[in-house]
Structures are given as C-alpha cells and as structure tokens.
Symmetry: C2
Subunit: 120 residues, 2 copies
DNA sequence: TAAGGTACTTACTGAAAAGTATGTCACACC
DNA sequence: GGTGTGACATACTTTTCAGTAAGTACCTTA
C-alpha cells in the first residue's frame, strides 16, 4: 500500500500521530511498558510517582482506544487489571528513537550560532 | 558523543522534543518551510487559512527561540520579515517520516482485532 | 459485622493554551 | 495632512487540560 502526502496531509498525519502521544503522562507510561512489560494498574501507579489515579486511568484508556495499549481484565476480587503494549505500540520505538536522535543532533549543527536574529 | 538513556531520561528527552512540536500550528508552519522555502510573514498568513496573526507570530517566535526557525528582518518600510528553517529544523524530516510510517503501519498490524477488551 | 484491598468514577478547581478584537509604529506616497 | 502597508503587540474571553479530593463496587478475611 503506497502513500502520497501533500504538505497538508503530511502535516495532518503527523499531527494525528502526535496527538496520540501528547498528554502529560503518556510517554512515561509508554516507556514503562516498552520491552513487553505487563504491569498492573497499581504497579504503574507505584512506578510513576506524582501521577494520580484519575490521570493514570485517563491516559491508559485513551491509549487503549488509540490501539497503543492493551488492557487485560482478570475476573477476580479484589480486581486485577494488567496493561501492556500492542504490537503497534511497540512499533513506536524506532520513531521515538528518530526524535531522540534529532534532539541530540542539536549540538552538532550550527544552531547555536544561528540563533541570533539576522538583519540584512 | 554517545548517549545512554534510562527509561526516565529517554521519556524526558522525547517529551522535550515533542514540546517543540506541540502547538496548534507548528507542524503546519513547519511543512510550509520544509524544502528550504523562505516565506514572509504575510505569505505564511495567506498560506495557512484560519490562523490568526497572534498565533502565527507566537508559534514562529517559539520555534525561533527553539532553534528550528530562522528569522530574517529586512530594514525597510513597510516592514519585510522572512522565515525559513535552520539546518536543525530541516533535520526534523526523517524523524517526522518515522512517525508517519508508524502511523501508516497501524492497518498492517493486528491492532484492529486487538482492540476489543480482553478478559481471562 | 466491620475493615480492607484494587481499580476505578465523579465533582470541583485552577492553570495554561488558543481565539477574537483592536491598537501601534515607521515611513512612503498622494 | 491624510491614507495605506506589513509586521507585529496587547487586552480580553473562551476552551481545554491537569490536579485534588472524595466516593463506589465487589468480594474476602478477621
């Protein structure tokens, strides 16, 4: 399946992709689930200091809806619910790597020297 | 220069990178400047329907501060100010491509079938 | 019968981002 | 002297997002 992007559709496509990653806690959650980890709600809660239950569930549910996270409910009392990444969620790795690489490149380009406002 | 990331620093690093791209209009602006295009303020205004002057200048200035966009002031009246990407800004291309690729992969993985909530 | 454990939900509050509308500046030309 | 041009700045309103606090459901064990 081949894709052809115009300025507008490409911008739109990336905007959509970014929207899936925006949110104060999504990346933190993501990185805890990378590598095939399967964690309970309470595990994540403990692993991410500062997050509230409301935020945790909100971001998890959003990512589940977006197909990034899988939710596994075990029928028992007290409740046990586990979270892990979908294949597609795992596939985010290279894309995030590319961003990290870009971020790290900053020093090596002449950005610093370019920063001053130019006047002609 | 080699980098070593932990879960936390990697998440942090990507969060920082994403912060540079977040904002209702940044990507649209970016895509208009990709390919070495040099555009005046008014060009961008016309090219991006729906954007207000306030938003346009706000996002441009932010990206300038972040080292993504270069601002070129011509001393004349009426004013003439041009915008283009820095080298580092141009270097975003592959990273955004990776995101777009990931986004497009969605169909080919079994996300759709995985979407239903699992129960054990 | 009371307490507790786990994964939530809901209502409320405050901060940050975006949108709208109007004003400004420095000159050039008529 | 009045008008127009291009690139902004500023004040104000609206919308969106995050955080805090409290409550719920269900069953289990003491």
């Amino acid at each position: 399946m081949s894709h052809h992007y115009t300025r507008e559709t490409a911008a739109q496509g990336i905007e959509n992709a970014l929207k899936l990653l925006e949110g104060r806690w999504k990346l933190v959650i993501l990185f805890h689930l990378f590598g095939g980890h399967v964690l309970r709600f309470s595990d994540l809660e403990r692993a991410i200091p500062g997050i509230s239950q409301k935020m945790l569930i909100q971001q998890l549910r959003q990512m589940e809806k977006d197909g990034i996270v899988r939710r596994i409910v075990h029928q028992q009392v007290p409740p046990k619910v586990e979270y892990c990444l979908t294949d597609w969620g795992q596939a985010l790795c290279p894309a995030l790597d590319a961003l990290l690489t870009w971020s790290a490149q900053r020093e090596s380009t002449d950005v610093e020297r370019e920063e001053a406002t130019r006047q002609d």
